[in-house]
Subunit: 354 residues, 4 copies
Amino acid sequence: MAGNSFGKLFTLTTYGESHGSALGGVIDGCPAGIDVDIESIQQELDRRRPGQSSIVTQRKEPDTVKFHSGIFEGKTTGTSIGFVIENTNQKSHDYSHIKDSYRPSHADYTYDKKYGIRDYRGGGRSSARETACRVVAGALAKQMLKDIKISAYVSGVGTMKLNKPYTELDLTQIESNIVRCPDQTMAKDMEAYIKEVRSKGDTVGGIVSCVIKNVPIGLGEPVFDKLHAELGKAMLSINAVKGFEYGSGFEGSTMYGSDHNDAFNNDGTTKTNFSGGIQGGISNGMDIYFNVAFKPVATLIQKYETIDKEGNTVEMQGKGRHDPCVVPRAVPIVEAMAALVLADYYLLNKLSKI
Amino acid sequence: MAGNSFGKLFTLTTYGESHGSALGGVIDGCPAGIDVDIESIQQELDRRRPGQSSIVTQRKEPDTVKFHSGIFEGKTTGTSIGFVIENTNQKSHDYSHIKDSYRPSHADYTYDKKYGIRDYRGGGRSSARETACRVVAGALAKQMLKDIKISAYVSGVGTMKLNKPYTELDLTQIESNIVRCPDQTMAKDMEAYIKEVRSKGDTVGGIVSCVIKNVPIGLGEPVFDKLHAELGKAMLSINAVKGFEYGSGFEGSTMYGSDHNDAFNNDGTTKTNFSGGIQGGISNGMDIYFNVAFKPVATLIQKYETIDKEGNTVEMQGKGRHDPCVVPRAVPIVEAMAALVLADYYLLNKLSKI
Amino acid sequence: MAGNSFGKLFTLTTYGESHGSALGGVIDGCPAGIDVDIESIQQELDRRRPGQSSIVTQRKEPDTVKFHSGIFEGKTTGTSIGFVIENTNQKSHDYSHIKDSYRPSHADYTYDKKYGIRDYRGGGRSSARETACRVVAGALAKQMLKDIKISAYVSGVGTMKLNKPYTELDLTQIESNIVRCPDQTMAKDMEAYIKEVRSKGDTVGGIVSCVIKNVPIGLGEPVFDKLHAELGKAMLSINAVKGFEYGSGFEGSTMYGSDHNDAFNNDGTTKTNFSGGIQGGISNGMDIYFNVAFKPVATLIQKYETIDKEGNTVEMQGKGRHDPCVVPRAVPIVEAMAALVLADYYLLNKLSKI
Amino acid sequence: MAGNSFGKLFTLTTYGESHGSALGGVIDGCPAGIDVDIESIQQELDRRRPGQSSIVTQRKEPDTVKFHSGIFEGKTTGTSIGFVIENTNQKSHDYSHIKDSYRPSHADYTYDKKYGIRDYRGGGRSSARETACRVVAGALAKQMLKDIKISAYVSGVGTMKLNKPYTELDLTQIESNIVRCPDQTMAKDMEAYIKEVRSKGDTVGGIVSCVIKNVPIGLGEPVFDKLHAELGKAMLSINAVKGFEYGSGFEGSTMYGSDHNDAFNNDGTTKTNFSGGIQGGISNGMDIYFNVAFKPVATLIQKYETIDKEGNTVEMQGKGRHDPCVVPRAVPIVEAMAALVLADYYLLNKLSKI
């Protein structure tokens, strides 16, 4: 099956290129009877929107979602939910400079080799613009999940790291600054850092962390579809992601079992949570938490050499309005993908017992 | 769809509990006409087998695979391939001590809550014994992939890390020691370390790294089924895995774009390979490499307190023949899962162009 | 997985209610490099369009398809193809008469019971208006299939049957009359019959037959996904279909093996074709042919009694602009579904051998 | 995805060739907590077994099923259920006569062309022997479905037809004769007819009808996965099936809407049931009933001419122990496939509403 669908039961299929007439998608498998708040879906889209602050791309794009089906009198009906986001910023750019050349660390070369053709306008399908559709579906999934609270935030920009466990952070403060880092002092530093990087025409990577609270026990489908395996895939499917770890993560690989095991309290909760809320691939009711590593954006506002289709060396000049650091805008995308996984596994878990 | 299948086109479905009568599986979607070397499949199983060396579990289990279908006169026929691994070591143990109790950081609690019932003998379905079936299928996938060379090795045991890029290692030396670390000095140290940990009844985590060479350009299915996203899921679905990173990984998130971008050579290869052989979710022909973090095994040969089904505190004593460190035996499992992903994506890529 | 997708590799996902703002869909898995003729896709839609002739519903709806993605410079790019058909005829009707009542032999009752809510405007999702999206995708599939020629036609209206094998018909004459029956005399009689039925406010069923020529040998995926099994499902998924038979069909069940077996010619073709071009679930290169039975449309322009949500008897009056007989407009839908199956199986068959 | 799996949530994957060492399968997605009666599963297998009566093949094969996993202390555990049926009757036959030749109306030719190789022993994978695995899984599905009662029976052998609606038959009498026709007089005639056909070395087709009672309202997944569409596919996937019709079926296509519509009673049941218990693709609680047409078995005990791989004419002689008419043994297979569909849709329907 082709790769533009995500989820087994709560399924999102997306389409759309960066500079096509519209992006859109279909959400299938959403149960009937969910109260839909369209406005809060649009708000999630606004959190991802270009031009929202001084540290993200200044491209103007309202990203307004329109639903065509599956919602009636304010509720989901159980039928497939189609939605469209028009591209209003389709200027007739001159793309001749990238049409026949491959930008380094972009998908130009691989798309061309794989498909024999590529929509070269703004990265085409490989553009992160596609994630707008994920945010729409994730926002709907959140409305289904109700009590489950998903909070992503920026915990690293370049070498600047928020070295505190999430339990010591005030997660209500994430949206109080444009970096989306819940530590205000760190946020200020990160903001200054990002601006400095941009002023050089450079970019920098970062880390998004995510915490999920109030997860019901039982989500996860052994043996291949363990909850963390699907979360990992979901995160790794986001543009620019290079790594995923949950619970004790890579650090956990350095520990002894006698330190790492999570002893039980008598109510079934655990005294520690190195497991990250998942044991044997199934949620145990404790908080789920994980980290997602993003590489630096490949588009630099600098002059550089690369090759064209024939393998000739050509000189190019990065231009346009690009993100110097992707993590502030990645926060709602990470949340959306987490919501899609949880919605899917919430439904799957309804089938565990007769 | 239930979680015991992996792959879209080259599909593995597995079954079997740790102490049931047999494990087995079905490989579906394997093209016809592949020459099958049963002996080399058995050799892969032997690399994973308990009792193979002094630093792994001493449990005796021959793990002999028997194929029932889909192979005729030495070739695959295009029909589904069923195989069985009998459990010969099914002693009538006394399981009363774990029947009603939940071992910490195992899947006892979550299976019981999810399904309302669990096969408590040796961990049941949550046992890593299940991965034997993955090794069988992965070994067949390797035979289909022919020129593609997958090499996994141990690069970390506890805090002991092999701090060399794979390009400085002699990957032909992986099997020359029982740790499966290609650096002989480090291997010796790791071996001693694992034995020390075991002598205390403790366990320790580790890292398996993997390098894939000779990958054709074009493997990967945007946007959700990016090649590294599926590799990540595959690895995270292995028991005890806590993290996955590819290419520059978590370290890449600290870098500047100007350092991280992989400049092209005129033949389409790149001068550096921070991308890890994958751009936009599609292989670019460079080496793929990634790291997989394993937590320490949860079963300690120590006395500890935990709870029973009613939430009462009970004392337990870990016993039996367990791995003090899982990574040496995880090496063939990581390779097998990588092979399954590549086989699947190799077939998917046949459909990219008309 | 939810039920709004069709196909494994060449996949169509649709959305849209009869009286919503738009219908649409996503075609995923279409290989790159196919020359797309948008105009001929629109022509297929026009063959299905309401108001096209005097024997179909007189509802006015232009049914113009707009593509948003996946096609670039006249070719498919290998990315997902999103399309939308706006509903221009969304009058603010008064639906109070059907809002709380269940029309007999419609899906009003079952949708309400299954989902607890239904979009009652014009049948909502259960309306055959949804099949417009199938025609779009099927038309694209036809362009991929090139030499394969799919010809559906009306072979029965009520008790009026075209008792000739397809080999005695001139299939180029199907579109030469509004019934879409290749026998001109029969077509005239059927047309008169349909008009007579409509004049009484009644409806009548019918049969659509289909012939597929130039099918490559090898399409079909044993054992569950036999080619005719998927064709059968495809046809039975069309609104109002009650039966499917291929090759010798129900008549074949009365025959002796000695009469039914298709003897080979020396070139691998067969002297007879009771098999209907499929043996063991796999195409053998002979013509595929099958019949599809449609029930009479449930909406009558008559007065009748039925029940409301509370089970009270209520009187209703059928009105509006409905098809007296669905088969003339079903012809392009049958072809579209056949094209979708063949496109999917054409791609699947690329994977049969290494 | 390859074609050896059936079902989305309650999934069966099968393997095995006619003359391989064993057949088997995996049932995945079966909920935990179902009481499993192994003996009654074996009884269903016995209903399908060769050699069970004087009118079926006299091949000796005990067809004993062994379960390897997923059942513990008499209950399903929610993990995948592996089972194996050993082939005990694998004589070292001489297959040289069919190795290089194509038998008419078998799958010899199409398998060879599709896969480039075929297991020619006894038809290999194309043999109806594979359906034994379906019966195992179907029998388990029946145990999950509890109150739902599925009754298949023979309603036609050649031109001999049981022209009574099921409502006039005593379905408890199906197993009282070896034909499995609930009308005892007709059963006797059919038995004599089958024996006569066999005595000539010929075969004959037939019809299996099926009635499903106590179906919950709401089973069915519009728009592509309508309940009858999946039932149709299930039946058409059985060896030798040429047609499927449900409710009014092909006859319904000749009717007027005013006769065909099923008027409601005040309790939501309908006065007539031309709909066959399904409206808009969703069960309405009325009886589901359908007919399945089987062609005559292709293997005749006669001398005939055919071609070899090089297209040369060769003379062959049918021999062995084959069914003269497949329908008596097809009855449990039809029931099994119906049970698999219902089990799957029963689980899917749990997800319709939040």
